[in-house]
């Protein structure tokens, strides 16, 4: 069975929002953030609100919780929780309701937990505020719910502080806090977005299990279509504050009606690997036995060491893309930063066009820098906010003696190549969207005519439709200019879309290395297999609105 096909028509309604409208009363024109949306969630049902950033999915959840920021006001409609309208309730009444009948879990469990309180006390505090249970009973129930969320060694974790736990454990604590009072409705706002894919899988399973056990209604907010395929009964697709389409998950994924839904699904990268680009003989980057060890210093005694990269070796030929895939802490970014010489490798060789740059001094490195460029993950921070786009773009060429006039002409030309109007050059980064800024960052790198481009999670912060466009741009630049790309990512779908070759890293070590088609289709190492199995929605070919097995039947290999 691919999707959930449970029927909830008979179940009592847990929450319904009717013609819910939220606007910004103090902004000129009073723009509407939610335009009369209707959502119904029945007991035991999981409703996924899916949409890109700015579509209003988080505003919906905050409106239900009565936690809208000051600037936003509910202008019309009703929010009924088991038939009771929540909108006329006072602050104090809403406070009573939260945690007891509606609970919420957030994206970042580290900031949602109080760092100076033990997690056990935080779970007990919820009961202290909302029940009259005795201290012993509170403790018993806290330990019980911690066991239900499958935390290991509960007595120890009960006494731990949030920073002593892993991200997945913290999210389990959040879920325990949310469910300890058996609420009617659980709102999960991107609860797995900050987690590694293997942890994400476990948390999704946990939410599912607890939902069946307690019959909780779940409003699940996500931007990830894979997660939707895994967890949803019903899907609401949101765009610009409206629900453009809703229905059972299989119907939405198999027969989407709205153009927007089709477009959104079509931009979900496929897990099926691309056809590799032609292999050439021209090796532009060869890394051999690269090691990076942190720590180990100390005057009086040796400090503990962390081996962030162990004997990493690979080579990359002109015009090809190498993906470095791994979860957080796998050392993939360390390798990227060593190649860029933003940090100094402990040992090993990094040959760029035949020259070893691993040990070159700052001055000696300068002539090689221009052939090696980088694009970072966060498009908000990778451009100096005080500089115009033109200033950012010509900074590099001016460093290498290109006359200003020529550099400006090239910048104007590249704006066209990356699909931005020429007058963008006079503007500042905050005047652009995330995807546009990432295009600008790519243009800045391409200004230098690099041989190798290191893209460190370059599309991870972008919405899927924007992601698809940026990947397309990289592909086009690669075809036109023959740039070789080292693509660092945690997302196997993205890796499958863009990489010819893949390296899988775990705890600083390369566990698998080979052509993308080989590694992703027939993984040899257990870790690679675990990664691929944990990829949400891996059995569904979103772009073609059918399952992967149906796709394989259509195109027999």
């Amino acid at each position: 069975m691919l999707f959930k096909t449970r029927n909830f028509d008979a179940a009592p309604v847990a929450l319904s929002a009717e013609a819910l409208t939220v606007n910004l009363p103090d902004t000129p024109g009073v723009p509407q953030v939610l335009k009369g949306i209707d959502v119904t969630i029945r007991q035991g049902e999981t409703v996924c609100l899916v949409g890109e950033s700015g579509s209003g999915k988080s505003v919906t959840s905050l409106a239900v919780m009565g936690l809208l920021p000051e600037a936003l006001k509910v202008a019309g409609g009703k929010i009924l929780l088991q038939g009771q309208n929540l909108l006329p309730l006072s602050q104090a009444q809403m406070r009573e309701l939260r945690a007891a009948r509606v609970a919420m879990i957030f994206q970042e469990p580290m900031t949602a937990l109080n760092p100076v309180l033990r997690v056990g006390d935080q779970i007990m505090e919820v009961m202290e505020l909302h029940t009259r249970l005795s201290a012993a009973e509170r403790r018993r129930r806290a330990i019980d719910i911690m066991e239900q969320v499958h935390l290991p060694d509960v007595p120890r974790i009960f006494r731990s502080y949030p920073h002593q736990l892993s991200g997945g454990q913290r999210q389990r604590i959040m879920i325990a806090m949310a469910l300890v009072l058996e609420p009617v409705l659980l709102i999960a706002d991107e609860p797995t977005t900050a987690l590694d894919v293997t942890t994400q899988k476990q948390i999704l399973l946990l939410i599912d299990e607890l939902q069946q056990k307690h019959g909780t209604a779940v409003l699940f907010i996500t931007h990830d279509m894979g997660v939707v395929a895994e967890i949803a009964d019903t899907v609401c697709v949101m765009k610009h504050g409206e629900i453009v389409e809703h229905g059972p998950v299989e119907q939405i994924l198999r027969h989407p009606k709205a153009d927007y839904t089709r477009k959104l699904l079509a931009s979900v990268p496929s897990l099926a690997p691309r056809d590799p680009r032609a292999e050439t003989q021209d090796i532009v980057l060869r890394v051999s036995k690269l090691n990076k060890i942190y720590g180990g210093g100390g005057i009086f005694r040796k400090l503990p060491q962390a081996h962030a990269a162990k004997d990493v070796s690979f080579s990359l030929t002109r015009g090809r893309t190498l993906g470095i895939v791994g979860e957080s802490g796998s050392g993939k970014s360390t390798v990227a930063r060593c190649i860029m010489r933003l940090i100094d490798p402990t040992s090993g060789r990094i040959e760029l066009d035949g020259t070893d740059i691993a040990t070159l001094s700052r001055g000696g490195l300068k002539p090689h820098r221009k052939r090696l460029q980088v694009v970072f993950q966060d498009p908000m921070r990778s451009l100096n906010p005080r500089w115009t786009i033109a200033q950012s773009l010509i900074e590099g060429p001016l460093n290498y003696g290109t006359p200003r006039r020529e550099a400006m002409a090239e910048a104007a030309r590249l704006m066209g190549v990356v699909g931005l109007p020429e007058d963008s050059l006079r503007r500042y980064p905050h005047q652009f969207s995330g995807g546009q800024r990432q295009r600008i960052a790519i243009a800045r790198a391409v200004m230098m005519r690099p041989d190798v481009l290191v893209a460190d999670e370059a599309v991870s912060a972008l919405d899927v439709s924007v992601q698809a466009q940026v990947l397309e741009l990289l592909d086009q630049l690669q075809r036109d200019l023959g740039i070789a790309i080292v693509f660092i990512t945690h997302d196997l779908r993205v890796a499958a879309q863009i990489c010819d070759e893949v390296i899988v890293m775990q705890r600083g070590e390369v566990v698998e290395h080979g052509p993308a088609g080989e590694v992703l289709a027939h993984p040899a190492h257990p870790y690679t297999r675990a990664l691929i199995e944990a990829a949400p929605g891996r059995d569904w070919d979103f772009q073609n609105f059918r399952s992967m097995s149906e796709s394989q039947d259509a195109h027999p290999a």
Binding site: M340, L342, R362, K366, R369, K370, L372, Q373, V374, F376, Q377, D378, R381, S382, L383, N384, P385, R386, W387, T388, A390, Q391, S392, E395, G396, N399, Y400, R404, R405, M408, A409, A412, E422, D423, L425, R426, Y428, A441, R444, A445, M448
Partner: protein, 291 residues
């Protein structure tokens, strides 16, 4: 081809604050008072009715009389003239200190923030400086170098420097981790260029706020040093000197301390109010940039 745009000045956040109309009534009054004090002291040579140093034994400790609106001191000198002329030096020392402390602190803090090896040495020196009470250090420095204006400025400046260094270092440490700084390294920009073009602008807003606090604190420290007899020589009137001399006749004639003290208090209160207003205006903008 697109015209090269006018480079936006790093002072932009500051300029826009001055244009912003959101100042409360407090900072507005403070601005008017401070402006008045500055104008009056600048024009002291013309406004003062008498020479501040001319003694007149026949007119000792007079109350407000014809020709001496604030009365005279124990040597028969005109109090109004002395307060006006004295303010000139007090303010000048304060401003000079603020400028020198901010400039030196900026350079030292930049070096400490960007170069790991220099950091350890510089910050330990700054810790040592901060461990000595600033008044004590200033008295010792004046005692070593003699009571000239230059040595008083140096004596007040040196204890202020560590505060600026710490501030600049903290801003640089945060900013150097920004991807746009790393991108600049990848684009082959030299270290001095990155420091000046990418990092200095980040420090300007907090430095302006810190500068106002240093200005107020320096004017006060100068007055304290003079009052303790460790400031500029007693023949030169400053607010501190006037109060120090007036102390002996405080019972007979409290105005001797009242007028310079009032000017000093008003001046410092205004500067601090303006500093707070500047901080409030600049902080949310900084947060927005970072976020």
């Amino acid at each position: 081809m697109a015209q090269t745009p006018e480079p936006r000045s790093a002072m932009q956040p500051v300029l826009s604050v001055i244009r912003l109309p959101h100042f409360g009534i407090g900072p507005k009054i403070a601005a008017v008072v401070l402006l008045a004090i500055v104008i009056v002291t600048l024009l002291a040579n013309w406004l003062a009715p008498h020479d501040p140093l001319t003694m007149n034994p026949l007119m000792r400790l007079q109350g407000p009389i014809e020709g001496h609106p604030l009365g005279t001191d124990n040597y028969g000198r005109d109090i109004l003239s002395r307060v006006l002329i004295g303010g000139r030096l007090s303010l000048a020392i304060g401003i000079a200190t603020a400028i020198v402390a901010v400039a030196l602190g900026l350079v030292i803090g930049m070096v400490a923030g960007f170069f790991r090896t220099a950091d350890a040495i510089i910050m330990r020196m700054m810790d040592a400086l901060m461990a000595i009470p600033s008044i004590l250090l200033a008295i010792a420095l004046v005692a070593l170098n003699g009571p000239s204006v230059g040595s008083v400025i140096a004596a007040i400046t040196i204890p202020e420097i560590p505060r600026v260094v710490r501030l600049v270092r903290a801003v640089v440490l945060a900013a150097r981790e920004e991807p746009y700084v790393e991108a600049a390294i990848a684009l082959g920009s030299s270290m001095p260029k990155i420091l000046v073009r990418h990092l200095v602008p980040n420090t300007l807003a907090p430095l302006i706020v810190q500068g106002t606090y240093i200005l107020a604190s320096a004017i006060l420290t100068e007055a304290i040093l003079s009052f303790l007899g460790a400031g500029v020589s007693t023949e030169t009137p400053t607010w501190g000197n006037i109060m120090a001399e007036g102390r002996q006749y405080f019972r007979l004639k409290p105005e001797l301390i009242l007028w310079p003290g009032l000017m000093l208090s008003l001046c410092i209160l205004s500067i601090n109010l303006l500093g707070d207003a500047a901080r409030d205006m600049l902080d949310p903008r900084l947060k927005k940039r970072a976020g």
